[in-house]
Symmetry: C2
Subunit: 501 residues, 2 copies
């Protein structure tokens, strides 16, 4: 089926035929066009890239009403969330523009010649340069921030790499509108519009992962698809970096003291966090380590009240809903799992009259009964509370956990030793540790890490959010005893960004 439909998750119905999947020939041409744009981007230099990124931010804002309207219709995430996401996306483009303009990200350094040592040391100048065309897989749950002009595209363009975006089938109309914003930004800035290309269809994505012109891939999505694409990238005749952000259980630990002092506050807070936008966040807290006994009961009581009061959520797609309900079923089939609160039980997984609806759920299990059936991501508005009596059991479970994007710890001052022990146990497992807070909500700053060990990502050395995200698309080159005139401008003696080491 080559038709690309825009679907309304609130009705479950196809609304409009947007376009056709990109043909094999067109996909090849997109990669070649990106390749041709690569040289042009290098020649334009950092100020031109900063300018077009800022213009793109403005072009998104100019189209805010249409973009938010289309995205809300295609994802049902709601206008308030989408307004915030669009603002984040624009500010992300501007942050990366600042990074490009500043130039320090290039790590331009010179080490002087030393003639008086044996063997003599030549003059060396090192700089990070763009890797070449980047393939970006857009995500379903962030129609702006991880899509056509999202963080991956912004960081690739800031680094000087053209981008081919494999659009997400959940929001094709929104994608085309964002592309319109890009084209206007490029035209206004006198920048090659071909630096961003769009393709549609899973086979287009698979083809591009293997296209010789593609030099790096970024992906945000499911473990299964991410694994498949990672393996394709690794099996190429010339393997290329594959940056996949895949999944995570995101452990959330509440100490005995925190439960005693702040049971209701934490219960409400964590329920809001795991139900936010139908729990369709890769940073959703999935495993809640909560003390057994009355304080933990109060905490779960507050969370249960919030769950029971929640309306059914409209999930992003039929598949997201089906996978969520299947995951919920699997959890409930564990004999040790009980239901603390539930908006609506799992329905017929394949019917969606009235849209891709699903209810929230808070489940519970004793820590001694945990197994691999429970310790796995269930994408959607659900969390499993793991009741413990001894924090040592929590530490032991955390130490055996698979990788995740984020962990959270709620403690009290007198429990500094416990908080430190939890920190030590989760540090090897995650990319971010949140104290007395909630992991959903990923601030876009220089100090953010959105990453973590497998299966959080396929490459824990990087962050896909923040001003370090462009490091994924850069590689070092060293010029040895080069004439000044031959050097890239940022490596010349006159360059402001050059550091002597």
């Amino acid at each position: 089926v080559r038709d690309v439909w825009s679907i309304d998750p609130r009705s479950g119905q196809r609304v409009r035929l947007v376009c056709e999947s990109t043909s094999t020939a067109e996909v090849g041409e997109a990669a070649r066009a990106a390749g041709r744009a690569a040289g042009e981007l290098g020649r334009r230099g950092r100020p031109a890239r900063a300018l077009v990124l800022r213009r793109a931010a403005g072009a998104l804002e100019e189209r805010a009403d249409r973009l938010i309207g289309a995205a809300d219709r295609e994802t049902a995430l709601g206008k308030s969330r989408l307004t915030a996401e669009l603002a984040r996306t624009s500010s992300q483009l501007r942050l990366l523009a600042d990074v490009a303009e500043d130039g320090a990200y290039q790590e331009a350094i010179v080490t002087p010649a030393q003639a008086d040592v044996d063997p003599p040391v030549p003059e060396l100048r090192r700089i990070l340069i763009p890797v070449g065309p980047v393939l970006v897989f857009a995500a379903g749950n962030f129609p702006f921030a991880f899509s056509v002009l999202g963080g991956d595209t912004a960081s690739a363009l800031a680094a000087g790499c053209p981008v081919v975006v494999k659009c997400h089938p959940g929001h094709p109309e929104t994608s085309l509108l964002a592309m319109e914003a890009w084209r206007q930004a490029a035209a206004d800035a006198g920048f090659p519009g071909d630096a961003v290309q769009l393709v549609f269809g899973d086979s287009a994505g698979r083809q591009l992962v293997q296209d010789p012109g593609i030099r790096a891939v970024s992906f945000t999505g499911s473990l299964a698809v991410g694994r498949e694409l990672h393996d394709l990238a690794a099996a190429r005749p010339d393997p290329v970096p594959f940056y996949g952000e895949l999944s995570g259980v995101n452990p959330f630990v509440v100490t005995a003291g925190a439960a005693r002092e702040r049971a209701e506050e934490i219960g409400r807070g964590v329920a809001a966090s795991f139900m936010l936008n139908g729990g369709q966040f890769c940073t959703k807290p999935g495993l809640l380590f909560v003390p057994a006994g009355p304080d933990g009961d109060r905490l779960l009581g507050a969370a249960a009240t919030a769950v029971a009061a929640s309306a059914q959520f409209v999930m992003l797609s039929a598949k997201t809903r089906r996978d969520y309900l299947a995951g919920q079923q699997m959890l409930l089939s564990h004999p040790g799992v009980t239901t603390v609160a539930q908006t609506a039980g799992p329905e017929e997984a394949d019917s969606y009259q009235g849209g891709f609806l699903a209810g929230a759920a808070l489940l519970e299990i004793a820590i001694g009964e945990l197994n691999g059936q429970v310790v796995r991501e269930c994408f959607g508005p659900l969390a499993v509370a793991i009741r413990y009596s001894d924090i040592a059991d929590v530490i032991s479970q955390l130490s055996g956990l698979q990788g995740a994007l984020a962990a959270a710890v709620h403690g009290t001052e007198p429990e500094a030793g416990i908080v430190a022990a939890v920190t030590e146990a989760v540090t090897p497992k995650v990319g971010r540790i949140v104290y007395d807070g909630y992991p959903t909500g990923v601030a876009v700053t220089s100090a953010m890490t959105h990453g973590g060990p497998w299966p959080a990502t396929t490459n824990a050395l990087h962050s896909s959010v923040g001003s370090t995200a462009l490091r994924r698309f850069l590689r070092p080159v060293t010029y040895q005893n080069a004439p000044q005139a031959i050097l890239p401008a940022d490596l010349r003696d006159t360059a402001g960004v050059l550091q002597a080491c």
Copy 2:
């Protein structure tokens, strides 16, 4: 066959049974021991790591005579080269000790909380932490600098990662001696000796690439073996980074002006470079783009004189010799290839009375006749001169080249435009560009890049030499709103290395 023999390349004979290949059970225990050492390394902190690296440098120097004697007997690289290599290895350990002590490599940054924005931005502190145990495959052609206490081990330890070294079969005795140096250094510094483990045997290496405790792999060796190990690392249930440094043709371009002005100097220089230590360098200049006509003839004449005057070389191993002679044969079977000079023709590939001897060769082909049979690495004392009349043909060939570690350009001042065009063509292909010099000889400084696009390496984002080499073994972690006491020392307000962004 589990026996590990020390072989003398000068006689081709086994000299001593050194040990047995490491058994499956012992290999598993080595990985576990490294895993246990990981926590300990973290607790010891940077100054302790710097201390043990410096002690290791000293312990190598104390054993210089024995180490150089053993390595010369096992590799036939010669005492003068091995003396220089040992000095480089010690200075590399000290450089990485300085990097560890300095702490800036951790990129410790803080971005402040912003309460007045919507949504509020939390305080974020980011730092690079060790990835965990690293598997290092030692190289055959650098018994010190890319072996037990070589650059990969030094950078992993500096980063805080324990190391399991898969010893190279070419120098087992040298490896055990280096391990003795490590044990003494660790004892002297009160450092856990288990932070470095040795294993022997190809199956041990393959087993460890797949061991769940190994978190990253570095490898220096052939394309075939590197590809196999890369694929194993990528196919793990939890893929880990594989940093392979594999091969390269290392193009060497001489402009018309440079040939006219400096034919003899460049001819002698490049011959010395491609024959250095039997051409057994991954940075050996393999493809020499030399002008057609009398200036180029003079250049090749000077190189031919050097080749003809060279004695046969003792190759590192029977396999290195066999592969070299087979590569030479394949080149000579190309109808366009002619021999400019040769020390000795290819002999019976499987006989080596008197050691693993092989002669140097300088071959020649017209640029119009180049094909994939010629444009491939031939590891050993051989180069192919590619004669050109139009520099545009050189640019075109360079643009189609596969990745390499280094390129070199010899030009003159009035040819700045040509040198710039060559630079532009090779930049996407290599990790280092050398001007008016020779690519063999890799200085160990902050600005060095020893890396490059496939098949130079499996991951072009990094350098395996210099003070940035430890970046391969580090990943970022962010602490969000963390209490000061919980933070790693280098992220606290009082830390000298913390930068506000």
